[in-house]
C-alpha cells in the first residue's frame, strides 16, 4: 500500500567519497527510528535552479521516498510503501 506522507523528518547520513554520494543511514519519523538497509535508487530533480535529491531507500519492511532540498538542506519523507495492493 502506498501512503503519501510529505512530512519533514530527521535523517542521519554518511558520505561515501568513492561513490561521491550521500547515503541515508537512519531516519526518525513519528517517534520511531528506521534503519536503512539499502539505497535502491537515487536521482535528482530540478525545480528551477534548485536541485532536489530523491532517495528511494528501504529498511527491509517498508520502502521510503525521501527528498533532500539542496537549498534548505531539509529532508522530507514523501511517501512510504509496503508493497501490497491498495
Amino acid at each position: 500500500m502506498l501512503e503519501i506522507i510529505n512530512e519533514k523528518i530527521s535523517v542521519v547520513t554518511k558520505y561515501d567519497r568513492i561513490k561521491g554520494l550521500v547515503i541515508p543511514l537512519r531516519l526518525h519519523w513519528q517517534g520511531k527510528d528506521f534503519f536503512i538497509k539499502k539505497l535502491a535508487y537515487y536521482h535528482r530533480v530540478r525545480l528551477g535552479r534548485n536541485i532536489q535529491h530523491i532517495f528511494h531507500v528501504t529498511d527491509g519492511n517498508m520502502d521510503f521516498r525521501l527528498r533532500m532540498d539542496s537549498e534548505t538542506l531539509h529532508w522530507t519523507l514523501e511517501e512510504i510503501t509496503d508493497g501490497t495492493a491498495d
Binding site: 502506498l2 539499502k38 535502491a40 535508487y41 536521482h43 535528482r44 530533480v45 530540478r46 525545480l47 528551477g48 535552479r49 534548485n50 530523491i54 528511494h56 528501504t58 517498508m62 520502502d63 521516498r65 510503501t81 509496503d82 508493497g83 501490497t84 495492493a85 491498495d86
Partner: protein, 417 residues
C-alpha cells in the same frame, strides 16, 4: 532485378528496457519487486495501463487495458501512477552508458535506443553479442540490479528491433542472413514492427499471409499492388536487411496532449486546460528560440468522434498568451460542443524568434513579449508554474507531467536540461 538479402555483418544494436515504467518503479521500491504491478495513467478503475511488470504480464495484463480489467485478471495487482522524473533519469543514465560504445546512439523512445556500430568494424575487437552482454551487466551495476533489457542485433534497424522482440525479458538475439528465414518462419505478419491489423488485411488481400511470403513477394507486387506507393519499396528493402529507417526528422512543431481524467464540455474548465497546455508548449517553443505561425487544435470526444483544425496566421506567436488566444479562436470553430475526453494543441510553421518582427502599430505586443520573457526567467529560476496566468489558478493537478509514448522529439528537450 531481384535484390538479395543483406549479407553484411550485423552492426545495428537495438536495446529495449523491459517493461520500463514498471521495472523502474520496482528498482526504486524493493517491496514491489517480483510482484504483479501496473503503472497506469490514473490509479482509478478506468485508468489506462501504460506498463505492466513482467510478473503482471504473466497473468495476461497488457498495455492499453484499464485498471479495472487488470484487476479482473489479477485482483491484487499493485497500481502505481508514472513517475516521469525517475524514468527520465534512467533514460539519461542508459544513454550515457551506450555512448561509451559508439558516438552514434539514437534514442527511439524513453525506453528504447539504437546503437549504430557501422564503420567501426576495425575498432571493435569483439563481437556485438559480447558488447550486448556487457551492456546488460553495466545497466545492472550502474543503474540498478532490477533493470533488464532485451537486445537485438541486425543489419538494419528493423531487423535489430525484430531480434530484440524475439526473447523477452532479458534476451539477446542476432539476426543474420543465415537465420533470417528461420526467424520469419516463426513470426506472424503483425509481429513485424510497422505492420498493424490494417496493413495485415491489405497484405492478406494480395495473397500474403506470412512474413516468409512477404519476404518472397516481388517488388512490383509490393509497390504497385499492396502498398501502391514507395512504401512497398521500403518494405522490400527492410525485410532483406537493408537500411531504410536511418532518417532523422527535423522538428516541425511543438505540441501538448492531455487526456482528461474527467471528460467535460465546460468551456471554463477546457479554457484552463488549454492555457496550461499553451504555457507548457510556449515554454518549450521559447526555450528553442522559435516562434510559430500556425496552430492546430484537436479534440477527441467522449462519444469516440474526433474533430481537429489547423490555422495559419500572418503574425507569429511566441508568448503563452498569443498561443492561447489563437488556440481558443480555432477551438471555438468546433461545429458543436461535445464532451471532450482528450485535448491536443500544437504549433507549427516554426521560424527563429529573433526574426520575428514587432508591429509598428501594435505596441502592447512588444510589452507582452517582454513580460513573457521576464516570467520565463522567474520560472527558470524558481521552477515551472511558479508564476502562471490567473486562468491556471487551482489546477495544479490538471495536465500533469507525462512522458509521451514514442516521443523521440520530446527527448531532445530532456538532453538540453
Amino acid at each position: 532485378m531481384e535484390l538479395p538479402i543483406n549479407k553484411n555483418s550485423p552492426m545495428i544494436m537495438h536495446i529495449d528496457l523491459n517493461s520500463c515504467f514498471a521495472t523502474v518503479e520496482q528498482q526504486a521500491n524493493m517491496h514491489l519487486r517480483g510482484k504483479p504491478l501496473v503503472v497506469a495513467a490514473y490509479a482509478t478503475p478506468s485508468g489506462c495501463v501504460v506498463s505492466p511488470s513482467i510478473e503482471a504480464k504473466r497473468y495476461g495484463i497488457k498495455v492499453g487495458m484499464t485498471v479495472r480489467d487488470a484487476r479482473l485478471l489479477y485482483k491484487d495487482v499493485i497500481v502505481r501512477t508514472p513517475d516521469p522524473p525517475l524514468v527520465r533519469d534512467v533514460h539519461i543514465k542508459f544513454k550515457k552508458i551506450f555512448k561509451d560504445y559508439s558516438p552514434n546512439v539514437y534514442p527511439r523512445s524513453i525506453d528504447e535506443a539504437i546503437i549504430d556500430f557501422s564503420g567501426m568494424e576495425n575498432y571493435l575487437n569483439r563481437t556485438l553479442g559480447e558488447i550486448g552482454k556487457e551492456i546488460k551487466q553495466r545497466l545492472r551495476n550502474e543503474i540498478g540490479e532490477w533493470i533488464s533489457c532485451s537486445i537485438g542485433i541486425g543489419t538494419n534497424r528493423f531487423l535489430a528491433k525484430t531480434a530484440a522482440s524475439l526473447k523477452k525479458p532479458d534476451g539477446l538475439e542476432v539476426i543474420t542472413h543465415n537465420n533470417l528465414r528461420d526467424v520469419y518462419q516463426k513470426l506472424t505478419l503483425i509481429d513485424l514492427c510497422g505492420i498493424n491489423k490494417r496493413f495485415e488485411a491489405r497484405l492478406n488481400s494480395s495473397g500474403i499471409f506470412t512474413p516468409i511470403e512477404f519476404l518472397d513477394s516481388p517488388l512490383p507486387l509490393l509497390k504497385n499492388q499492396v502498398f501502391q506507393s514507395v512504401v512497398g519499396y521500403y518494405w522490400y528493402l527492410r525485410l532483406r536487411g537493408w537500411e531504410i529507417d536511418d532518417v532523422i526528422y527535423a522538428r516541425k512543431s511543438y505540441g501538448q496532449d492531455y487526456a482528461l481524467g474527467k471528460p467535460t464540455s465546460d468551456p471554463h474548465e477546457l479554457a484552463q486546460i488549454m492555457m496550461k497546455l499553451c504555457e507548457k508548449m510556449g515554454r518549450r517553443l521559447r526555450k528553442a528560440e522559435k516562434a510559430a505561425l500556425g496552430i492546430h487544435v484537436a479534440c477527441l470526444y467522449r462519444d469516440g468522434t474526433f474533430w481537429h483544425r489547423g490555422r495559419k496566421f500572418q503574425t507569429e506567436m511566441i508568448t503563452t498568451w498569443e498561443l492561447y488566444r489563437k488556440a481558443l479562436y480555432v477551438f471555438n470553430q468546433q461545429p458543436e460542443r461535445k464532451i471532450v475526453a482528450k485535448l491536443s494543441i500544437s504549433c507549427y510553421d516554426l521560424i527563429p524568434s529573433k526574426k520575428s518582427q514587432i508591429s509598428l502599430f501594435d505596441v502592447p505586443q512588444d510589452k507582452e513579449r517582454k513580460v513573457s520573457a521576464a516570467l520565463d526567467a522567474i520560472n527558470d529560476k524558481y521552477g515551472d508554474f511558479v508564476i502562471t496566468p490567473a486562468l491556471m489558478l487551482g489546477m495544479k493537478d490538471l495536465a500533469i507531467d507525462r512522458i509521451a509514448f514514442g516521443g523521440v522529439k520530446e527527448l531532445e528537450d530532456l538532453y538540453e536540461n
